[in-house]
Symmetry: D2
Amino acid sequence: MYFFRNDYSEGALPQVMEALGRTNLCATAGYGMDPYCREAAEKLKVRFACPDADVHFLVGGTQTNQTALSAFLRPWEAVIAAETAHIATHETGAIEAAGHKVCTVPSPDGKLRPEQIRAVAAAHTDEHMVLPRLVYLSNSTELGTIYSRRELQAISQVCRELGLYLYLDGARLAQALTCAESRLRPEDLPDLCDAFYLGGTKNGLLFGEALFILRDSLKPGFRHAIKQRGGMLAKGRLLGLQFSTVMDDDLWLAAGRHANELAARLSQGLRDLGYPLLAASPTNQVFPVLPDALTARLAQDFSFEHWGKPDADHTAIRLVTSWATRPEAVDALLSALRP
Amino acid sequence: MYFFRNDYSEGALPQVMEALGRTNLCATAGYGMDPYCREAAEKLKVRFACPDADVHFLVGGTQTNQTALSAFLRPWEAVIAAETAHIATHETGAIEAAGHKVCTVPSPDGKLRPEQIRAVAAAHTDEHMVLPRLVYLSNSTELGTIYSRRELQAISQVCRELGLYLYLDGARLAQALTCAESRLRPEDLPDLCDAFYLGGTKNGLLFGEALFILRDSLKPGFRHAIKQRGGMLAKGRLLGLQFSTVMDDDLWLAAGRHANELAARLSQGLRDLGYPLLAASPTNQVFPVLPDALTARLAQDFSFEHWGKPDADHTAIRLVTSWATRPEAVDALLSALRP
Amino acid sequence: MYFFRNDYSEGALPQVMEALGRTNLCATAGYGMDPYCREAAEKLKVRFACPDADVHFLVGGTQTNQTALSAFLRPWEAVIAAETAHIATHETGAIEAAGHKVCTVPSPDGKLRPEQIRAVAAAHTDEHMVLPRLVYLSNSTELGTIYSRRELQAISQVCRELGLYLYLDGARLAQALTCAESRLRPEDLPDLCDAFYLGGTKNGLLFGEALFILRDSLKPGFRHAIKQRGGMLAKGRLLGLQFSTVMDDDLWLAAGRHANELAARLSQGLRDLGYPLLAASPTNQVFPVLPDALTARLAQDFSFEHWGKPDADHTAIRLVTSWATRPEAVDALLSALRP
Amino acid sequence: MYFFRNDYSEGALPQVMEALGRTNLCATAGYGMDPYCREAAEKLKVRFACPDADVHFLVGGTQTNQTALSAFLRPWEAVIAAETAHIATHETGAIEAAGHKVCTVPSPDGKLRPEQIRAVAAAHTDEHMVLPRLVYLSNSTELGTIYSRRELQAISQVCRELGLYLYLDGARLAQALTCAESRLRPEDLPDLCDAFYLGGTKNGLLFGEALFILRDSLKPGFRHAIKQRGGMLAKGRLLGLQFSTVMDDDLWLAAGRHANELAARLSQGLRDLGYPLLAASPTNQVFPVLPDALTARLAQDFSFEHWGKPDADHTAIRLVTSWATRPEAVDALLSALRP
């Protein structure tokens, strides 16, 4: 069985496993107050060129989104997001569970547009409605698409103009930064966002997300927020050590690039075979539309997710590559799709 | 520097690390729907003799407590706990953050008594007050003390009589079960409790807690609850694999026993040296009272927590042993305390 | 200035004011445990033919919706509603503030369809998504439209089939029941709904909503829920007395009918004058589309709400009649609109 | 049956009822945006000498406390209160339901001391604990006692020093200000508190509390908070009109004074008869300790609350006087207690 189900099917990059083994018996303080976390935070702030950022390490993406958004917002403040946003679809209402409405707008490609942000803000006129206060983006998006640097700049400008926080969910940020089309660089993000996170879970760590808080007013009390929401890992060192490891030699970018390259090979192969793609994704998620019979046959040897039914006879599936995907797996899949 | 600060200063038991390395590149489904989790749940249900329990794996203790209690209770229902309870002191109000009041009662030794439970229940008489509905115990307690089997039976009986759920926080359950004084067996717990968890973080896992839900009415929807509170680990396999590993040959009990034995050696040594202990703990937390000057000197070579100031010239400190504590460390500490 | 802004611009029906004055110095128990509340609940249960219902009195609609829905749902359960629903648009995210997502579907006329309910339920397939559990309807709707008895029956049947609670917001239930088109009778509602409320605020009371809970499993603890959300009026007698008063001689229905009749006169007049209506409302809200210049001129002597801009030169306005609207006001308005 | 059960057993002061009747058919904007509310806010700001305060009208005390505290605090921030505080005992955990822990300290007389505030603040040292951020007082307290001006000043100073907000629950503020012992004046409060409310429900209004927010940073968004928590009364004019009425000629103070005077007569009579009082209350709540048999007999003709059982044979009861209590009722009660 070849896995194209997601980018968190395996454990971790060998360098990460090696580091965990090497330091296993070193004793440190708990809860992220250890040297590994300090070192990782330093490396991250250097790489993203934001010496004044607060960097926090959390275990997973839903936890990071929920903790950050609920710490940043007052009770009546709301989030603006694409209707495809992870927080709107696949986090079991975690943001609402923390008390905040997510105002969604349609988005066929998973991206939010400046004019949509303006429209939501303008539609909320008085105290009988929530007050939109934070824009949530994911990059790459849930459909594998990316925001160009220019697009992010335009959104960032609208946010500043309207007094909205800009928060970027970077569960797959490495993939976004390393895809061929991208002009975005790590050091661009601190200028554009009020907070963002760099995902580790979907890019070769056992688990872990590194949250950057740029805006000063959002910094105080955040460790209280993490602890209160159950996100403060006792052996926080595991988070620091993993991030510290992948920051060396830009190993995190290499892992993202590997995933993208295999996805590109997959996309090209699918196109060559004449299968349409649901969205034109330059990153590590590919959404081919296949005849139902073929989908069923494919499922015997390959693990993947069903994404939708564009018509009665076809299924859109999601194929995800990762740091762990081998070229042979891609070739096997393309081979299986050959008539 | 010798660490007696806590029982989560190091990584994991060698067997756990070995298993993680061995399976690192195996691909599995995410979110705990993998064979390792299934296997671990089976082993746990066998060892605790509760074939009908639901077993869930979570990352940490605060997360487990918050997720379980908020899933079990209606909005106006409250918790009864000792004032020393972890949920009342060191979880940043996580239970209140989930909407529920914690009704605390005094407890010099960290234990709750049946008559205290009765008193709290009786004092809440109408709809202007919260409705106490769940009793929270930790075993071993935050002061290292334990509940005997008979004590737990008495509490369980009161809970049934009053229609209260009994929830046991087993962050240090292995230590409670393996201390010399204990008559409690793993297989006793399912009969006594409506839910309880077996802690891994403080007993040799990188992280992880295994929650058992016994009462049928509390079972539905719990995976929704985990996801909504950000506790569903993408690579859930890490939890299953670790628990599966330590269930073999009762490795979890051996780890707890080791911690207790070194703590007993420490306690005996302290008593021999004439230092009073704050609480008579039969498990892996020891609370000696030392002159302030000695405390300061000790801190140069040993890492530990300050617990309180019984008088102007003395400090109570907490010394914690674990699966990773070496006898030499205990000897070095006792040696440093010798006049 | 003539008021067509809403149906809560004035105080209360003269009978209500008389009753309040008459009983002002009678002393009673507080918090709704008084004879007036008992009497009112009895009358309501008789009139709606539901002797086993629990009836609770609350002060306002948002409070009633928030208290009921948060008491009925588990944390991960969600609401299905039309995108025009009051809870989705004009309650400042009160349902989300209580932790629950509102899943909305498009509705040009403010009504929800059985197939939309089915579609939302079917789209929520696993624990990564909220679990839709309650259907929220308003009748009459926010656009003045109503559900026929047959439509409600179809929705109720879908809810039962899918295990969803059916909750009806009756802020303007009297108006829905008394409009010419309606075949729905008060005694139909208990069979169709799990809970519903009869609004008083928008039908001639100073304030007050009467919530009926029909489903037994939703009844326990509800007074705790009211108190916890700040909705338990100290002088609860005011609620009981007002409802008791308007239940006599079906005064509540007469008040609703009056509002509808004046709205019908208004609609007819507007149609006769050639102004299009945004929605064909048979109840006490009328939405004419007027040229902008005329809208501005009208605002000098009449108070009303702007509802939207169908095109660059026109404004849709909302005209609301009530128990307090006089025929002269309607005539004055129509007169002002005459070319 | 004479009522000494509470101070909200009857309707409203005749002047209030008259005003409601007189203005019943005047049409106004809803939700507190009407001339009566504006006028009342002006009068309140003049009387309390705080021209820059924000004044909001809410329906009840629990609602006011919950709305204010949850609007003022970040998620991890907590409240310091006496263990007798209304928010800690008789509001069904409304503050916890809004996510915040209430840290209580013992208080035999219902009052909080500066050193208790310091101690709670000092005990919360890191992110594993909540962060105490707001001090809650009630004046008069739940035991009828009052804070002197000097006591309030000392508390206010501690709050400023420690960066804590000071919030005063004035459900019975009129009674506190008018009792013989009081040196506190209305115009003192804005200097001492960050927010406080003047209660109407327990002082002759049908319902209503007037919240003053003094600290600028706590002002923004508060109308959103009111609406989101279901506290925004559609016919908000009822609140404004009532407060406007009782501010004239200091009718509110006269009502409080009347209650106090009858309570003093009651206290004196009880003392003369040799019955001990649980607390020395200078305001309108009196707590005599009576033999059980006498308590039972008394209950046949008088309505009151049981407060506690100081010993096996005696009951402490609560007797409350109000604007509506007649001297004959007091005399009848004393007469019934005569041997």
